[in-house]
């Protein structure tokens, strides 16, 4: 069975400091991995997907198949980055039927 683990429920960093939100997964096939973000009083929204190899709002995430990780990183955190972040895994299927979410990490960026 596939599983997504986000080991940190809470993470605090100071503005301007680097931030890394950890995500580890277990899945026997080739996964598709995603990061979702939920800002205060806003809906859950897709931040980035590994297949696009994109940088969104300064965040990047690299899929490391050897370590089965998909950590989210940003070199200089901003206060507006404070939010709840969820890592998610899906087999390539064109359906979210097998999409698995982690339990989330609440990031607080301190002034």
């Amino acid at each position: 069975a596939q599983r997504v683990t986000q080991p940190e429920k809470l993470l605090s960093v100071f503005k301007g400091a680097p931030v890394e939100l950890k995500c580890n997964y277990s899945y026997s096939g080739s996964p598709e991995l995603f990061w979702y973000v939920q800002y205060s009083r806003q809906r859950l929204q897709l931040l980035l997907r590994h297949i696009s190899r994109e940088s969104i709002k300064g965040f990047t995430a690299d899929l490391n198949k050897g370590e089965t990780s998909f950590h989210l990183k940003k070199p200089f955190a901003q206060e507006e980055d404070s939010a709840m972040y969820y890592c998610a895994l899906s087999p390539y299927s064109g359906s979210a039927r097998q999409l698995t979410f982690g339990s989330g990490t609440q990031l607080t960026v301190l002034p």
Partner: protein, 113 residues
């Protein structure tokens, strides 16, 4: 405007009441999903639909039911609400080619007293 609308956003009701959480999307997406989320916990899939007249139960057992009579409308119903149903319910539709690209509504927070 392309969006997913969920109503009500907040609902407090007594035990035994029947409730329907509405979800409508204006994007013409075929695949829609209902998730249940408790604070600090993962999102759990409770229902999904691949199109009109197609509904299936998700991994998390739920006493709720859904219907999909029109593409844009995917309501969730609890015939007799109980305190254990207290939770946040999120509706989503599949917006991309990949299984993880969901567009979520703002959620319905249900409290059953």
């Amino acid at each position: 405007e392309a969006d997913i609308y969920q109503t009500p956003r907040y609902l407090v009701i007594g035990t035994g009441k029947k409730i329907t959480l509405e979800c409508s999307q204006t994007m013409g997406h075929d695949k829609m999903y209902w998730y249940q989320q408790d604070p600090g916990m993962e999102l759990h899939l409770i229902h999904y639909s691949y199109g009109v007249n197609s509904t299936e139960k998700g991994d998390l057992s739920s006493e709720s039911t859904v219907s999909r009579i029109r593409t844009e409308h995917f309501p969730l119903t609890l015939e007799s609400a109980r305190p254990s149903h207290t939770s946040q319910y999120l509706c989503a539709s599949l917006t991309g080619l990949f299984g993880g690209e969901l567009f979520f509504g703002e959620g319905s927070r249900l409290t059953v007293l």
